[in-house]
Amino acid sequence: MSGMPVTLTIGQLLSARDAVGTCLGSLGDKYDNMVVLTADVDVSSRIGAFKEKYPDRCYNTGIAEQSLMSVAAGMAHEGFKPLTFAFAPFATMRACEQIRTDICYSNLPVIIIGNGAGYSNGISGCTHCGLEDSALMVACNNMTVIEPGDPQQIIKVLEAAMDINTPVYIRLGREATASLYPEDVEYEIGKALIPRRGDDGAFICTGIMVHFAMEAAKRIKEDLGKDIRVVDMHTIKPLDKEAIFDAAKTGRVVAAQDHNLLGGLGQLVGSAIAEAGFACKLLCRGCPDEFVPIANPEFLYARNGMDANGLYEAMKSLF
């Protein structure tokens, strides 16, 4: 799979939605049946450049996520490949049934990009936090669910998502993150990436949690001399079970996702390990079963043991 003609260097800071916006134009060059639909979030979704290049391939349904998903379904029925943009909670909860019934039931090639995954939008309050989106989308038949770990991946994710020709949900956090991989890293939907090797334990994470796990693993090496693997489980469905089994063989797994614990990555990982019959210590980190007042993501990550320090402590406790 060829990379997009956008150059990003390891360590370069770029927010996920900026990365998407940057590559939409070239994606549109490659896929002439691609259309972009938003629900009054053209600006915050960064589709400006694409719109300037292809104004007649952009649709805006207004603040109407249900219409957004159904219109996308109708266009996909007619041979187009719609990319839809909305905030994660509005896309997946307000329009959950439209996604499930209008898009997934007919297995249509619609890519749904949800911004504000997990606590990343905490400063806007719980209305704008995608705390349940992963669970809801995983439960929709035919849906592929992706949460990329870095901007370099996003470009490849979008190409891969265009090519599989079935429904794809991509959840994105808002914060700027550094790239984890060299530009030529091979990206495949359903195949986890391993940005850090180690056999004494493993973090299995998605999105921003991968970065926190990298930091935690580095500190554990420094403090305890243990080598902790970091598994970037960028595809939540279908899960890369082989990567999970390999991680379980280390005997210690900490799974973390910026999402509610219930229905989140940790439960999927735990169930895969249990079904396969591996004996393995497992801790899950994510958002607890509560709504919280408006708060900064860093505060919420720290409060719930999801930041680098929390993940460090979780893994340390397994030794």
């Binding site: 259309v35 007649d56 649709y59 349904t61 207004g62 109407a64 249900q66 219409s67 159904s70 219109v71 996308a72 379904a73 109708g74 266009m75 996909a76 029925h77 007619e78 041979g79 187009f80 049934e97 439209q98 019934t101 209008d102 039931y105 007919s106």
Partner: protein, 284 residues
Amino acid sequence: MADKALVRRIDKAALDTKMKLLDLCHQTLIHIGGDMSVCDMMTAIWQYAMNYDVKNPRWEGRDRFVLSKGHAAAVTSFSQAAIGCYDVRDIYKEYGTDFGRFGMHSCNLANPYVDVSTGSLGHGLPVATGMAAALRKKGSMSRVFCVVGDGECDEGSIWESAIFAHHYKLGNLVVFADRNGMSFDGNTEDYMSLEPFADKWSAFGWNVIAINGHDMEAIIEAIDSLPATDSHKPTIIIGKTVKGHGISFMENNPGWHAGCLNEEDWNKATDELTEACERKWGVK
């Protein structure tokens, strides 16, 4: 004025479909009330309005059909069978069977004559607007025909579509509204009033045609009066209809939203239809 022979032919086809619906309703549970109310318009859609090739349901040049009131699947299937999409006997054989093509709601997984799977209300019209926008983008001269129920218009998603179709000037979108005045629980005006129904659509910028949805001549004339496919206003044909139309004990009776006819009721219903047919056409 619509051609009399044409009106007569389609009207008789509608009566034939109503009789078949009663037979199916004798065999199993169907949404007979809403099937009967929309039957005349549904027949006209498939016999007259749609540009369609029964041998090639995926023909790109076809008009599209979306059954937004997805529970009217039986009347849709019979109307399609009447133009040759299926052998009508297959509907009786397969209705509600495992992986069969026919059932309570339209499903495209096993049936190539269904473009869009429906059943959950307020979904069909939104998808139809997306199809209409897509056809516009492709430069296609095909129309999208969509049948909505009136109770379904309680759903907010219907009105999201109404503003979308107006904003994107989808003159290739034609909605038939089955204004039978009833939802599951009873009269719409008692439970969740929709009037002034036509004015609402006008206010949303639609071209509104209000007719008696059981008057075949009026239905044909409404179809004849549709604006050009490349015009800029979506059209809604609001057919005032009667739920359970033509069967005395079903008409306006919420108990017959869905049901199965026992032997006695089936006899009574078929007798009534036969008599109505004789009165209208002088023949059985």
